[in-house]
Amino acid sequence: MWKTILRRLLIMIPEVIILSILVFLLAKAMPGDPFTGSINPKADPEQIHHLMKLNGLYDPWYQQYWHWVVHLFHGNLGDSYQYQEPVSRLIAGRAGNTLWLSLFTMILTYAMALPMGVFAGRHEGQLPDTVIRVYTYVTYCIPFFVILVIGIWVFGYILGWFPTTGSISPNANGWAQTIGSHLTHILLPGLLGALFGTVNIVQYLRSEVIDAKHSDYVRTAQSKGVPSKDIYRHHIFRNSLLPIAAFAGYSITGLLNGSIFTETVFSYPGMGLLFVNSIIYRDYTVITALVLIYGILNLLGTLLSDIILSLVDPRIRID
């Protein structure tokens, strides 16, 4: 097992190199430059030209790339043009926020989706199943940001239960208030994110349960005289959770990716919001760093999914 994991990690090296080149070129290919519009619009184009030259932005791409990589290995992701701050510090400051929000959303998503999916599959065609299906279809049909805006409007604005922006109240003093304030700020975005995130898992799980219910091995269990309660517990649940378990590997990478929609709508200072702002302001250094991190996380997520799947499914062994 460890050999396979090591091998997969080694294979990731060329993958990451190719990824980094692609990321770098993509960022280069974006129109605009970091200086136009970000400094005084009356500034002399000559001066912008000078700044571009100073920052090495006229060098051939491979030279710029090499520069970037060398700095990367020194832990230097460059400075953000927008914030005038090292990218690494910028990201480190946001990663925590995103991690907590995503973790909360993920736990909530699975806590809601697993019982719902299993219940709907078990009572296929009956009233509770219909209710759950209608819920998933309706939620799926509405664009996510609309759900978020409606959520803010209803719970944050009309009812006033939750704060609608930021990650912490400026008035929070002491550790207890800090934690409490953090929690109240992630409640609404987490809840709405989970509401949307459950849809896929519920539908997937529901059809898996229905498939398992009609499978031959369940018929075998019935012919053994196993009560249906135990058939669900021992045969159907575990088998239908397999694809969901494989999925979990990817969702763990989502812990740091953050949700662009949620964070933007809630102005929640996380990675997703940082990403959107960087694109708007053509903050190349931040964009490349973030896309690279996302890419590496996805590669790790794939590996993680494979490992999880091999642990839960005896048919898949990676040794």
Partner: protein, 398 residues
């Protein structure tokens, strides 16, 4: 002490059942007090039975009256299709005895498997409508609820499925899948179950039971998986084993081995076996009794010799004629023209096989075909068998 009067209810219909009911007492043979109990119980049993007729009395003690322990009476199973019920099998009457293999033959879609799953109670009650009676050891299975059925399934009736790969749970070790049956029907300890699993695997001809017990279904070959399925079915020594095409997915050498295993088990446990197959070769090799099904009905039943030596019904004769024979070196085999109608289009009156033998005049068929006993124990549906001839035998009379 167990009150003797209470036990009377559990005596059952015959001597065998009585002895069986005394088992917990006999097991404690060291205690003379309990032997007194057995004697008292026996006395009450005999006195109780003296009220019966002579035949019943002696029959219960010396003759196995409950030999035909499975009796299927007028059973029909209808499936719901687009809100309407259609009979998949209609008015089936069958008996299975101890120490006997009953083969049910017919082509796919004729209702063989439906019959098997009906006996096992594996149909979703909201989608099926079952009528009739299935008497199994003095219980009408069709009257049972799920919990009641689970007392029989696995314990007294074992089922062997057609596709050995999909019939096993891919995520569970072989040992767990076999011992699961015992969990619900015996009070064996974990270690005892483990021993029994190894014993069973050995019995079904697996050479390295220790290793196989630890393996997962995908690590086994098709023949091994089918053996595991058989081991599951026989784990609790059932009186009745239903084998639904147990050899279809296997190659011929493995087929023969599996059939041998089945026969050995039947001899050892004195079980009755219902063998469902479309393979006439398998039937000829193993069956004692044969029932031929066509379009949800039994068209002919009798002993294996009767069916193979003197087949009567046109369908049985067509089937046997379409089988390759060593002594018959014709170029072409006989082909039964036409198709079995779908459930929705099944005619409700008349001979269902009539459209497949169009040269037989309508007058030869019965309006409502019944089973006729040709010779004792040999039953044929419809009267058309009396005059039926194949076209090349001069049967084209219309």
């Amino acid at each position: 002490m167990i009150a003797p009067l209470k036990l009377i209810k559990d005596f059952g219909p015959n001597f065998r059942a009585f002895i069986f009911s005394q088992r917990p007492i006999i097991a404690n043979f060291q205690s003379p007090k309990l032997w007194v109990h057995v004697v008292v119980n026996l006395y009450i049993f005999v006195v109780d039975r003296l009220r019966m007729t002579d035949h019943q009395f002696w029959g219960g003690i010396f003759v196995e009256t409950a030999n035909n322990f499975l009796r299927i009476k007028d059973v029909s199973t209808a499936f719901k299709i687009n809100g309407q019920y259609y009979d998949a099998i209609s008015h089936i009457n069958l008996e299975v005895h101890h120490d006997e293999i009953l083969a049910i033959v017919g082509k796919s879609g004729c209702g063989k498997s439906t019959l098997a799953t009906t006996i096992m109670g594996l149909h979703d009650p909201s989608e099926t409508h079952i009528t009739g009676e299935i008497d199994f050891e003095d219980t009408d299975l069709l009257q049972l609820d799920e919990a009641g059925y689970n007392q029989f399934r696995g314990a007294k009736i074992g089922m062997i499925f057609q596709d050995p790969l999909s019939a096993l749970n891919p995520l569970k070790r072989i040992e767990d899948q076999i011992s699961e049956v015992m969990t619900y029907h015996t009070s064996l300890s974990k270690a005892a179950k483990h021993d029994r699993v190894l014993e069973l695997l050995n019995q079904v001809g697996i050479t390295n039971p220790q290793r196989t017990a630890r393996q997962y279904p995908h690590e086994l070959s098709g023949g091994m998986r089918q053996r595991v399925i058989i081991a599951i079915a026989i784990a609790c020594k059932p009186d009745l084993i239903i084998a639904d095409e147990p050899t279809t997915a296997l190659d011929v050498t493995i087929q023969a081995q599996i059939l041998d295993v089945l026969r050995d088990i039947q001899r050892e446990n004195h079980a009755g076996i219902i063998l469902i197959t479309h393979d006439l070769g398998v039937v000829a090799e193993t069956a004692d009794q044969v029932a031929v099904m066509y379009a949800g009905q039994i068209v002919e039943k009798g002993s294996a010799e009767q069916i193979f030596d003197t087949p009567e019904h046109p369908y049985t004769r067509s089937l046997l004629r379409s089988m390759p024979q060593l002594d018959n070196q014709q170029d072409d085999l006989y082909v039964i023209k036409g198709n079995v109608p779908s459930l929705q289009k099944m005619p409700t009156t008349g001979d269902r096989f009539a459209p497949r033998i169009p040269w037989v005049p309508a007058s030869a068929h019965e309006a409502d075909p019944q089973m006729h006993e040709v010779v004792p124990g040999h039953w044929v549906r419809c009267t058309c068998y009396q005059t039926f001839q194949f076209p090349d035998e001069g049967g084209v009379t219309v």
